[in-house]
């Protein structure tokens, strides 16, 4: 597969904003916005995995949907192979719909129950003109099913005849059918039992190595992130609060929220049994985010400036974090705050 063009990332998102209007009453009066995605920037390199993590309602799913223009963002740019997808009209966008595919958490909800597997997988091929004729497409369906470790003879079955893990394999085969370069995987392994999850994670790893696929892996499950992602972006109430290389971020999380999130993951290692809640209270509503830093209402390290002013992303370690403790100009930032010599 083709190498990344001149070190450019395959996908670069800049300043993405997707707000949803809140309307009430008969006249549908506009009373506010749910700021689902509020100034999000991220990059995915060809053949690599970026994990977008956060708790429910943080906006991670809306980021994925906005990149594919399943939602219409109000601002920002989505650069893919040098083209801003948000500036394209539907006709210009069509070829990119082929190159970016999505796999959902519940494949059943995205698979038409009245279509046989062969049709489900071949549908996209036909609309993008892949395969010379139906016979060739049938052959391709067979080899795709084999590729995701399903019996090719099952192409004449209906999706309800498959188990959860098998349906997720189908969802992946369907996405691969149109030869994409990037897959958005939205909680794609979250509903699976751990033994089945392992099978799907191994399959995703194999496919990435063989086909050079890039993944935007959207999840709340941090142990999966550490296992498979090259880079991580952590979201909180519509914003990215920290991003960086996976290993560094897990070893030395810079943002208090990331630290709290990592400390809250129960470990199955019997030598470690020390879970204590460090982040208290509930996630604020994205319709009414707190002023200043959005995390300050739950942050044990918050100080006066945090409720007054909104932090930007500061360089921290090998990545970036949205926290005043990392602002080199912050007076009284604790000594030895990990802003590093690279700033």
């Amino acid at each position: 597969m083709s190498a990344p063009a001149g070190g450019q990332p395959l996908l670069r998102v800049e300043g993405l904003r997707t707000w949803f209007p809140i309307r009430v009453g008969l006249m549908r009066k506009l009373v506010g916005h749910v700021r689902a995605v509020d100034d999000v920037s991220l990059e995915v390199e060809a053949g690599r995995t970026l994990a977008l993590v956060g708790e429910s309602g943080c906006g991670k799913t809306t980021v994925g949907r906005s990149i594919l223009r399943l939602e219409e963002p109000q601002a920002g740019r989505v650069w893919f192979e040098g083209e801003d997808l948000l500036a394209l009209d539907p006709v210009q966008l069509r070829p990119y719909r082929q190159k970016l595919q999505i796999v959902f958490q519940d494949p059943m909800a995205s698979l038409n129950p009245r279509m046989r597997v062969r049709e489900l997988v071949a549908e996209g091929m036909r609309s993008f003109g892949i395969g010379a004729d139906e016979a060739e497409r049938t052959e391709r369906v067979a080899s795709l099913l084999e590729r995701v470790q399903l019996d090719p003879d099952w192409m004449w079955r209906y999706p309800h005849e498959f188990s959860g893990g098998q349906r997720q394999r189908l969802g992946i085969a369907r996405a691969l059918a149109v030869e994409p370069r990037l897959l958005v995987l939205d909680e794609a392994v979250s509903a699976l039992d751990v033994s089945i999850q392992a099978q799907i994670l191994n399959l995703l790893g194999d496919l990435q190595r063989e086909l050079g696929l890039a993944y935007l892996f959207i999840t709340h499950d941090l142990s999966v992130v550490r296992y498979l992602a090259h880079q991580v972006a952590v979201m909180y109430v519509g914003q990215i609060v920290e991003r960086g290389d996976t290993e560094a971020l897990f070893r030395e999380p810079q943002h208090p929220y990331t630290r709290g999130l990592l400390q809250a993951v129960p470990s199955a290692d019997p030598q470690r049994r020390s879970l204590e809640p460090h982040v208290l209270g509930d996630v604020p509503s994205p319709a009414d985010p707190p002023p200043g830093c959005r995390f300050h209402t739950r942050c044990a390290e918050a100080f006066e400036r945090c409720s007054r002013e909104e932090p930007s992303l500061f360089r921290a370690g090998s990545g970036e974090a949205r926290c005043f403790l990392l602002d080199p100009g912050q007076e009284g930032a604790p000594a030895g705050s990990p802003s590093g010599p690279s700033v």
Binding site: L228, S267, D269, P270, E276
Partner: protein, 325 residues
């Protein structure tokens, strides 16, 4: 130590093709006072049905065919329906995964807990209200007084789960059954709820039967662990024995397939195939079809229990041979 909950040779069946199919088949469990036993397994292993059986709440057309269940020494399968109703909530309570399905959407949450208290005790409404307020504060509901009048839909998932726990504890049950109590919650909220369950157990010596698929939560909360596969127990023992020195090939496979315990990028160990449906369970060991250590007689002969040190037990022919040799 005295036994708070004891289950022996429990069989729960559902109508299948032809005859009834047992989905829980000869299960035995023992939870001591003040202890947490985790019942672990993947979807369809029968862990939730076993939990419901302990409250005699197996949904129709399911049925308890055989066995005995004792709560605080009382045989519950012999009780009349009104007697059983009296026991639920006072002696044994349950927290479900999805609080919305067990909270009444048209009654405020305070009212529901007050009602639960007054169902079991003769106390005035105002006394019950005062106790509810206490409970809400104890389970960490902020602005508890205001929240008494809130309806379930006005509360977040974490707060609803706290209301459920407050209700389950309103009458200080001897046994608390927690079925995936944090599965629907975010990790930061989950950490708060786990802490809460630990504190409550320390203060009231409640026995907890924890149903979960998450081995991380097992490690955080349990004293002992029972692993279920296809309706039967396959391994049982102390937390450290099962998690660090598991012997059954299924438990080993589960632990090795966890991304949390793998090195990044390294291939995860897979358990090949899927759990077969109940009407296709083999006569012998039910894991035999997926087991890397299966012996020729495994599919035909149900394995007996092999005792290991410290009341660690495994139901596996291959382990039995290891121990014998």
């Amino acid at each position: 130590m005295s036994v708070a909950l004891e289950v022996e040779d429990l069989v729960v069946s559902f109508p299948g093709v032809g005859e009834r199919t047992p989905v829980v088949d000869g299960l035995g469990l023992r939870v001591e006072v003040g202890e947490t036993l985790a019942l672990v397994g993947e979807s369809g292993c029968g862990k939730s049905i076993s939990a419901l059986a302990c409250l005699r709440l197996v949904p129709r057309p399911g049925r308890i065919d055989r066995g005995r269940i004792a709560v605080g020494g009382r045989e519950i399968l012999d009780l009349s329906v009104p007697e059983m109703r009296g026991l639920r909530g006072s002696e044994i309570s349950m927290i479900f995964q999805e609080p919305m399905t067990s909270l009444n959407p048209v009654v405020n949450v305070g009212g529901q807990v007050i009602e639960a208290i007054r169902l079991h005790e003769r106390v005035s409404r105002s006394a019950a209200r005062a106790r509810t307020l206490d409970l809400f504060e104890q389970v960490g509901i902020p602005d508890a007084e205001e929240r008494l009048d809130a309806y379930p839909h006005q509360l977040s998932g974490g707060l609803k789960q706290r209301v459920m726990i407050a209700m389950a504890l309103a009458t200080v049950p001897k046994v608390l059954i927690a079925d995936e109590p944090t599965t629907a919650l975010d990790v930061t909220i989950q950490a708060q709820i786990l802490q809460l369950l630990r504190d409550l157990q320390r203060d009231s010596d409640t026995a907890i039967l924890l149903i979960t698929h998450d081995l991380g939560i097992v490690n955080e909360l349990s004293d002992r662990v029972a692993v279920m596969y296809a309706g039967r127990k396959v391994e049982e023992g102390g937390r450290v024995d099962v998690l660090a020195h598991s012997r059954h090939p299924y438990t080993e496979g589960l632990l090795r397939s966890m991304p949390a315990l793998a090195r990044p990028g390294e291939r995860l160990a897979e358990i090949p195939g899927v759990v077969p449906p109940p009407d296709e369970w083999p006569r012998g060991c039910r894991f035999s079809g997926r087991c890397p250590r299966a012996l020729p007689h495994c599919p035909d002969q149900p394995p007996a229990s092999t005792p290991l040190p410290d009341e660690h037990r495994v139901w596996c022919h291959a382990v039995a041979e290891d121990v014998a040799s």
